[in-house]
Homo-oligomer: 283 residues x 2
């Protein structure tokens, strides 16, 4: 956890979804954090180093036989800032230790498989931090909202996902699930920016505007996700994303918290150190 002077409540607790209502969620809040933007940004720079050090320990252990890994699941509406989290939070750790995957509209090949097929292929390897930009939750969010499959089909997925994640956790993956929320107004502002800057056009898709009409349906679908797949072993965090500095800092802290929980020591030498020093000097 960060310094007591800046966080009044540990981030894991401040963001824990337990029973909260998506529709009433304040997307402009900065739960648990006492400072302003400037303080948040200063702290982020500092904590990025802590995260980077912990990640190296995870990686080192992975290379030494430890099977554990961490998987950050970023799920959120367009413009919530998933890409920014990847760039500014995950960007602070060694690329070698990151298994990044993003899940868009399924390809033809993916459509021929169970919806978890493409997810399984991208699970983090031992010692890695996996990052999912969208995830299997698309299959109970966009799929549900747009009725891409019949209700009985998506209906049974919540349990299936719970079992899938239970297995993941049992096999040594620490899951950090983050549902990212912006307000409808903030989204409008961010989409407008993409229409106003030549270096942002590529991020814009006219369909993003159509999606705004489904906002209430998405809120309902997100609510179901939080209520039905928030488990003891893989809880959901609700992240307010109107303030980018806050969301980035908060995810950094979630990762630090998860990695700290793994109690990672540097792997011990699997050889006789003095003997190897002697051999090396003679070589």
């Amino acid at each position: 956890m960060a310094k007591a002077t800046t966080w009044s409540v540990p981030v894991t607790k401040a963001l824990r979804a337990d029973g909260a209502k998506v529709r009433k969620f304040d997307t402009s809040a900065t739960p648990g954090f006492k400072g302003n933007k400037r303080a948040g940004e200063a702290l982020l720079a500092e904590r990025a180093q802590v995260l980077s050090d912990l990640q190296e320990r995870l990686y080192a252990n992975g290379r030494s036989g430890d099977q554990r890994s961490v998987l950050l699941v970023l799920q959120g509406m367009d413009t919530a800032g998933k890409g920014g989290i990847v760039r500014h939070v995950i960007g602070s750790v060694d690329p070698q230790g990151v298994d990044h995957a993003s899940f868009g509209v399924p390809t033809d090949t993916e459509k021929k498989h169970h919806y978890l097929w493409r997810i399984r292929k991208e699970l983090p390897r031992a010692g890695q931090i996996g990052v999912f930009d969208r995830s299997h939750y698309e299959d109970v969010l966009v799929v549900r909202v747009h009725e891409l499959v019949e209700p009985p089909v998506w209906e049974k997925r919540y349990d299936e996902i719970n079992k899938f994640e239970r297995k993941l956790v049992d096999e040594g993956t620490t899951l950090i699930k983050v549902a990212m929320f912006v307000s409808l107004d903030e989204q409008k502002k961010r989409l407008m920016q993409r229409l106003e800057r030549t270096d942002k056009y590529w991020k814009f898709n006219p369909a993003d505007i159509d999606e705004r009409a489904y906002w209430p349906a998405y809120q309902e679908a997100y609510q179901a996700v939080l209520d039905r797949t928030g488990t003891e072993y893989a809880p959901w965090h609700m992240l307010p994303c109107d303030h980018k500095w806050y969301s980035r800092l908060a995810v950094t802290e979630l990762l630090i918290d998860a990695l700290t929980g793994l109690k990672l020591e540097w792997p011990s030498a699997k050889f006789d150190i003095e003997e190897q020093k002697r051999r090396l000097l003679e070589s």
Copy 2:
């Protein structure tokens, strides 16, 4: 290219392998760069931002239908600093835009396939910067040095690799091949460090010392690689790696040079901007 005040010769030219001899190569040199360590580190911080901006353009174009990509091949002896390049150079760009792969001793599955099979699977996607920590060149380096296959088998691989790379380039991948060299003494120092620091033990493998006895054989094998697979379309760069600050800066410049050569503009809008603004405001 960097400022005229710091590079006396463009890095691509300063490192170009054309006919140079591995055995006579000065691994402690800083070819083309006029400054000292402090100047190099200051410049690196500045150039990292340039690299990051160019990478975003490559990514943006990849998302907009451009099939091009860049592939950085890092090939070098143990302790040459491949990992450091990934962490400190590739670490400065958006992780979403990086396809990183490292190639160790082939797995059982990999052994059942042609040696290029595992390479093909990891080629960068459109718009990505691929990074190979070791590569298909292992199959004419360690394989040749330790006679893991008969000479006629590795012998024909040089041509095969040239054809493979020709195809890659034709398909839109810019190849940056970097052969990294440290001196035998510098390697000893770096290996000793791994034996002296508890946070470095995991990087040490007693077999690394055995490999030192094969130094001349490796030099010969590297020479053959440079002579036989340095082509117009995929030239080799010889990177002196005794000074980490230099090798990191030089690879940054090689990447910047390659990306600049792609003349990447921001993708144009594929929609009517004013119409979308109107729709957005009404949404």
